[in-house]
């Protein structure tokens, strides 16, 4: 199996005034294409920083992060943005939709930022919104949608450029348990039926027990404490 994400001995050190605070101390994470991986850890474990590395949102202080075989440290900011936009679909705990744009417009956003021209962005956005179960209310703004609906829009947005990876940060954290389950089902469905690599970053141990999980990484103090590989 080919590794789509390869994090090798990554350190991330933040400068807080004159003190150096290491958030990651030699993190190693390898995720293969098509896998369902869970990165788990309590707050303060370096989980968010780890997600920033895996999602190419930030560069490591030391170590190597390879996205689909390419070292992200060797890319300039624009290329990095481009690669992020095309390879990774982000789903955030707080949805992070643009409040002034409608559901459709939020979903077309990654297509707008893509360097190559996307034909019929609106049609494509509608198709994806129907796929995630939001056939109606597509012209509503985030403020007019429920939490579950908003997360569906966010998931639809993450799928806009047909990325290989869906990276979800506490995707059910702001939803009640019933809606959370529905969103989880949707994500699992995308993983199973559409063969997306699914990475969930969470503090909730229940995700590790989900059916179909290929990898679980337990984080503590900025490094992997324990990992489990199914199959």
């Amino acid at each position: 199996m080919k590794a789509i994400i390869d994090v090798q001995d990554v350190w991330k050190i933040y400068q807080m005034g004159s003190v150096e605070v290491p958030a990651l101390r030699g993190l190693d994470i390898t995720i293969n294409k098509g896998d369902f991986a869970v990165i788990m850890g309590p707050s303060g474990s370096g989980k968010s920083t780890a997600m920033n590395m895996v999602g190419a949102l930030d560069l490591p202080t030391k170590g190597i992060v390879k996205l689909d075989g390419r070292n992200i440290a060797h890319m300039d900011e624009s290329t990095l943005a481009q690669v992020r936009g095309e390879k990774i679909g982000f789903v955030f705990q707080t949805f992070n939709l643009i409040p002034t744009l409608t559901a459709i417009e939020n979903v077309t956003l990654p297509m707008i930022f893509k360097r190559s021209f996307v034909l019929d962005k609106v049609e494509k956005a509608k198709k994806i919104l129907r796929l995630v179960g939001l056939g109606e209310r597509m012209t509503h703004r985030p403020g007019e949608l429920s939490g579950g609906e908003r997360q569906r829009v966010a998931i639809a947005r993450s799928l806009a450029n047909d990325p290989e990876i869906i990276l979800a940060d506490e995707p059910t954290g702001n939803l009640d348990s019933k809606m959370g389950e529905q969103i989880m089902d949707l994500l699992l469905d995308l993983h199973e039926k559409h063969k997306k690599t699914l990475i969930i970053v969470t503090h909730d141990p229940r995700f590790a027990k989900l059916k179909g999980v290929d990898n679980v990484f337990w984080l503590k103090d900025g490094a992997i404490e324990k990992k489990r590989r199914e199959k």
Binding site: A81, R84, N96, T100, P110, I112, A160, N161
Partner: protein, 395 residues
């Protein structure tokens, strides 16, 4: 792509309507005042040019260098000797010495002070008046040597409670005159409120021997400007002084335009200061906007927006504010200009026509856009440079 950025920018602008309008008002005021000032001064220039066109191109005007308009205390500087010098120049056809001053007019026991012009009224001279389009509405021109007056169009209507008519008798500095003609409207208040009589008769009435100005008509086939130079030279030699100017209408026009140009520059310069304030307003709004939307910038960067894309969105926003301010400001400026036109028309001042000129409209709007985009540049650069992680963490 561009239209997508524009749409996102437009959504942000309409999302916070009040602040956007307040920002645009800064530009609106600046653009409106610049447009109004430019269009009014263009209209003024047009009106003045029109006045000079009536004079024709072959009339030389000889005036003292010092200001000798109505109400001036300067001596009337030209005498019959000067007139003879000009008459002897072979390229000159007719010489028209003129004098003017304030006189008391009495009609139906009512006194009024106005502007009296003494002009030559012999056959030759009358041809010149005819050529420059100075015409009688009713009656005829006064005759040379007779105690007759012609009345300016407005003077007839407004000088006394009773309207002056042909065949009325009017007292000028306590001497009896017969009104023989009412002049057609010329278009400037100075000429329209004056009363005209033969220059030799005016000498007695105004009690002065000398002339305030001399007009000279050039014989056909001569270059008026060359002849004007010759008049200047000959008269300078005779008078042994350079205290006068012999100019053709186009030369006078050039001088007036020079002065108008300076006034225009100063006024527009002052108006431009308000544009600068408007630009600072846009910059301020854009900085606030970047600060407020730091998280959005982070989101957009996370889902693939390059620095350029972020920059474009914010530049578009500032540019739209500028262009909207420009459009509304131009319309407002035009309305203000028209208002000045109407006010000037009703006050009997030189009638100026404020025209809607496309170069001015397009210039004003594109300039406003440019100002908007320029003031948005620094905030947009700041937005583009934000790091996605830092921006995402921002609440």
């Amino acid at each position: 792509m561009i239209q997508d950025y524009l749409r996102i920018a437009l959504r942000n602008i309409t999302h916070r309507k009040l602040r956007s309008w307040l920002t645009a008002i800064g530009i609106i005021i600046g653009v409106a005042s610049v447009v109004a000032l430019i269009s009014v001064s263009q209209g003024m220039q047009g009106a003045i040019e029109e006045q000079f066109e009536q004079m024709g191109t072959d009339t030389i005007t000889i005036t003292p260098t010092s200001f000798t308009g109505p109400g001036s205390t300067a001596e009337a500087p030209f005498d019959d000797g000067d007139v003879r010098v000009i008459e002897r120049i072979p390229e000159i056809d007719t010489v028209l010495p003129m004098m003017y001053g304030t006189a008391k007019f009495t009609f139906h026991n009512q006194d009024s002070y106005s502007y009296l012009m003494g002009i030559p009224l012999d056959k030759e001279s009358n041809k010149v008046w005819d050529d420059i389009g100075w015409d009688i509405l009713e009656g005829r021109f006064p005759e040379a040597g007779k105690k007759e007056v012609g009345i300016g169009y407005l003077a007839a209507k407004e000088m006394f409670d009773d309207e002056l008519r042909v065949k009325n008798t009017i007292m000028v500095n306590d001497e009896k005159f017969k009104i023989v003609g009412i002049a057609k409207e010329v278009g400037n208040s100075q000429d329209d409120t004056a009363i005209y009589m033969d220059v030799d008769v005016a000498k007695d009435i105004l009690d002065q021997e000398d002339y305030n100005m001399i007009m000279a008509k050039v014989k056909p086939g001569n270059d008026a400007e060359l002849v004007a130079d010759k008049v200047q030279r000959k008269l300078e030699k005779y008078r042994d002084a350079e205290d006068f100017n012999a100019l053709t209408p186009s030369e006078i026009l050039e001088q007036i335009n020079d002065i108008l140009g300076i006034i225009q520059l100063v006024l527009v310069g002052i108006a431009a200061i308000s544009l600068l304030v408007g630009a600072i307003g846009i910059m301020n709004t854009m900085y606030t906007s970047v600060l407020e939307r730091t998280k959005e910038i982070g989101i957009m960067k996370a889902i693939g927006a390059s620095n350029n894309a972020i920059m474009m969105i914010f530049l578009a926003e500032a540019g739209i504010l500028g262009i909207v301010g420009g459009i509304v400001g131009t319309i407002l400026g035009m309305i203000m200009g028209k208002g000045v036109e109407i006010a000037a028309g009703s006050s009997g001042f030189i009638p100026l026509r404020v025209e809607i000129s496309w170069p001015l409209i397009l210039g004003a709007i594109s300039f406003a856009f440019l100002i908007g985009a320029l003031s948005g540049t620094l905030p947009a650069l700041g937005a583009a440079k934000l790091k996605p992680v830092d921006a995402l963490r921002h609440e």
